[in-house]
């Protein structure tokens, strides 16, 4: 594509971008949050149209930006967010994406189709279960299978590994490798720089809608250099390694107090007699393959659901369930895995979002509320059009900062952080990590769900692996990657 530009209102997402992918390569597309990566590939897949510029696929100029036409031309895309129909089974989702005629396949035929593809690419999936009930990893594999089913020549993956644990991510990358070897072109968007070096041939970096690095071979670069290019900072500011791995306050210097959180034989959903104890000032990393009870534990700790068995106590008191304001008053900070589902009301203003769970019976006038907000936004470096802006207009990193600004205000006793840096650019991720670590230093017990082991290694005092609803471990530093991997694999179905 050449000279592609796209603006949303006053936001320029892309300005005159040239981008080119060759058959037989895995091409990494990097950039900060909001750099325009998703916008770029959506245009490539016909899900959006450029304001200017031209795109051609295998030599054919694209005239109509219609997803259907581009799929016909061999472009398939796995989007940043799942696009499966949750109530349909894997087989039905495939039949929906690429019908084999007017009559839909019987359950058996649909299942066979899934299994055929799954075998071929080594991506295991349960075929008869509604997609919404599959684990995140399975859903991601299903997305991939669906894209491959279209027999695409150009495969685009928008942050496919963001929701995967390391082992799963590695498997995915190796599938990509194989596809490239079959002669297809693969574009991968990722925030994990490591993956660029293990799995990709060339790399393009976008910065603020412009190309900062245009498709040069990966071997010409190192992590630090790429990170610098992404944020555009001078070498002095840039961290030498992925920033999230550099905790500002090393774990040993944090003063551990007495046990605060105690989880005793708790069951619910996939959790089955789960135990956990966390002391004040301690960060416990929760590792594990998605779908082993993480979602249930997150809901229990956040008071969104009640345990069917067992008890949860904070400083000896039962953890509040059901009434969210009681959760807030009890000093439980909740950074959910899905921001726009559990933390932020998209259509409401930033000020309103900060008030969630914390406002008074009578609210100040709107102007005053907005005025009170300004210093908070500055302190947290939330970049926005103003306090009256809607939360839905925030980029991922800024949205997460807003969540933390609210949740970490007023010394929490317990911090439940579910994948707090997921999908964030290195700068934002570092800031988020720092603040959570600081909260621990101030005495909070922290439960940190993490997808990347490296991140957990850097921040956690202990790591517990969640496998088939039970706790394995705990593992203490220095961490034994192999042992943890084994524990996680034990939990794999």
């Amino acid at each position: 594509m050449t000279g592609v530009a796209r603006a949303f209102g006053s936001t320029v997402a892309l300005s005159s971008v040239d981008f080119e992918v060759a058959p037989g390569e895995v091409h990494a597309l990097l950039g900060e949050n909001g750099a325009g990566k998703t916008t770029l590939v959506r245009i490539l897949a016909g899900l959006d149209r450029p304001d200017a510029g031209s795109v051609s696929v295998y030599g054919q100029p694209v005239r109509r930006f219609a997803a259907r036409d581009l799929r016909g031309a061999g472009v398939a895309m796995v989007q940043q967010h799942f696009t499966l129909v949750p109530t349909l089974t894997a087989g039905e989702n495939l039949a929906l994406a690429r019908p084999e005629g007017r009559i839909r396949p019987r359950a058996k035929a649909a299942r066979e189709r899934v299994e055929r593809l799954a075998d071929r690419y080594g991506l295991a999936i349960r075929a008869d279960v509604p997609a919404g009930q599959l684990s995140v990893g399975e859903q991601q594999r299903l997305e991939l299978i669906r894209a491959l089913d279209a027999d695409a020549r150009l495969l685009i993956l928008d942050e496919p590994t963001a929701v995967l644990v390391d082992a799963e991510a590695e498997r995915l990358l190796s599938v990509c490798r194989r596809l490239a070897e079959e002669g297809r072109a693969v574009v991968i968007i990722t925030h994990r720089l490591g993956e660029v070096f293990t799995g990709c041939d060339r790399v393009t970096v976008l910065r603020r809608g412009q190309v900062a690095l245009g498709g040069t071979p990966v071997r010409d670069h190192d992590r630090a250099g790429l990170a610098r290019l992404m944020v555009g900072a001078s070498p002095a500011d840039a961290p030498p390694a992925p920033p999230a791995t550099q905790p500002p306050i090393p774990a040993p210097t944090r003063a551990r107090s007495l046990e605060r959180l105690r989880v005793d034989g708790v069951s619910r959903g996939r959790l089955d007699g789960f135990d956990l104890a966390v002391a004040g000032g301690e960060i416990v990393g929760m590792a594990g393959v998605d779908g082993n009870g993480q979602a249930d534990l997150e809901a229990l700790l956040a008071g969104l659901a009640a345990a069917t068995a067992g008890t949860l106590t904070l400083d000896g008191e039962p953890l509040p369930v059901g009434d969210p304001r009681r959760r807030v008053r009890a000093g439980v900070a909740y950074i959910p895995s899905d921001r726009y589902r559990h933390a932020l009301a998209g259509p409401m203003s930033l000020a309103d979002n900060l008030e969630l769970g914390r406002g008074h019976r009578v609210r100040p006038a709107r102007r005053r509320r907005d005025r009170l907000l300004a210093p908070v936004l500055r302190r947290w470096d939330v970049r926005t059009a103003g306090p009256a802006a809607r939360a839905s207009t925030l980029s991922g990193g800024n949205a997460q900062k807003l969540v933390l600004a609210r949740e970490l205000a007023g010394e929490p006793r317990l911090v439940v952080a579910a994948y707090p840096t997921r999908g964030l650019d290195p700068d934002a991720a570092r800031m988020i990590s720092e603040r959570i670590v600081k909260a621990a230093a101030a005495g909070a017990a922290v439960v940190w769900f993490g997808a990347e082991l490296d991140e957990l290694f850097a921040v956690a005092d202990r790591i517990v692996v969640l496998a088939t609803g039970h706790a394995a471990g705990p593992f203490e530093p220095p961490y034994d990657r192999a042992a943890i991997g084994l524990a996680m694999a034990g939990g794999h179905r």
Partner: protein
């Protein structure tokens, strides 16, 4: 009580169920695609008038049914423009349309009316062809939704429009088609009432059957076969109500009037939990909104 559980009661129930079942079958298609059509009552009314006028001028009730179908589709097209293309609030659009249809059908009917001469009765169809029609449409709708790719696409559009969109299906087009198809059946239902048991048109002749059909769709958990069954249940209630009045004088008859609705409420209590409401029902689809 022996007068209650007779073949005659069942026959009455079937007669009462026929138009409601047809309207509900149409609404299932529409709602499966994510459009809540509260204009169904109005659509039925338009179909009823069309059926009456067409039969009256042509002498053929079959042409009347065809006219009802066509006018229903037209209503659906108008509703789809508002609810899908323009993305107006579906609830108020439906209500406003029903309001409009009520006045407009009265207006048009009055134009064909000469004072002092009761408007002529039209040629009527017997129940067997109408029942057959309902069964045929039930089979067709069931096959469409459960056995065809189009049904899969309609379901996806109502469950996860962004997913359908991402796969290149045109959500607006599918919803428009589903609204037009569903409304066509709604219009047909109105015409069946007039060209079947009644043979006449009067103001607001559908008397709330469209609303009942809407409730039935929920009751039936968006399954066409249960829609027909539910309509029958409703019919049984109504038929029994009319029969019981003579015998159970101690119970005020208003209780019987409320009975079908109370039964539906009770049924909702039993079934609602596991209901499979289309997730995007009544939510206009805007690409990229969060």
């Amino acid at each position: 009580m022996d007068t209650l559980l007779t073949f005659a009661t069942l026959a009455a129930a079937i007669r009462l169920a026929v138009p409601v079942a047809m309207a509900a079958l149409g609404e299932v298609i529409t709602e499966k695609a994510g459009v809540l059509n509260l204009g169904l009552e109005g659509t039925m009314l338009c179909g009823a008038l069309a059926g009456y006028l067409a039969t009256r001028s042509s002498g053929s009730p079959w042409l009347g049914l065809a006219a009802g179908l066509a006018v229903g589709a037209g209503c659906g097209a108008l509703l789809a423009v508002l609810m899908v293309a323009v993305r107006a609030n579906q609830i108020v659009t439906g209500l406003a349309f029903t309001l409009l249809a009520s006045s407009a059908t009265t207006y048009l009917y009055e134009r064909s009316y000469t004072l002092g001469q009761s408007p002529p009765r039209i040629e009527r169809l017997g129940m067997p062809p109408l029942v057959a029609l309902v069964i045929a449409v039930l089979a067709a709708v069931w096959f469409l939704l459960n056995r065809t790719t189009a049904g899969l696409v309609i379901t996806a559009t109502g469950e996860a429009p962004e997913a359908a969109d991402a796969l290149g299906y045109r959500v607006a087009r599918i919803r428009t088609a589903a609204t037009v198809a569903g409304s066509a059946l709604g219009g047909l239902a109105g015409a069946m009432l007039v060209c079947g048991p009644l043979g006449l048109f009067i103001q607001n002749v559908t008397a709330g059957r469209g609303w009942v059909a809407l409730a039935l769709v929920v009751f039936a958990r968006w399954r066409p076969e249960l829609c027909v069954l539910g309509a029958l249940l409703f019919g049984v209630c109504d038929a029994a109500q009319l029969r019981l009045q003579g015998t159970a004088a101690a119970v005020p008859y208003e209780a019987f009037l409320a009975l079908p609705y109370l039964v539906t409420l009770a049924a909702l209590m039993l079934r609602a939990r596991d209901s499979r409401t289309p997730q995007a029902l009544a939510v206009p689809y805007v690409r990229g909104a969060r």
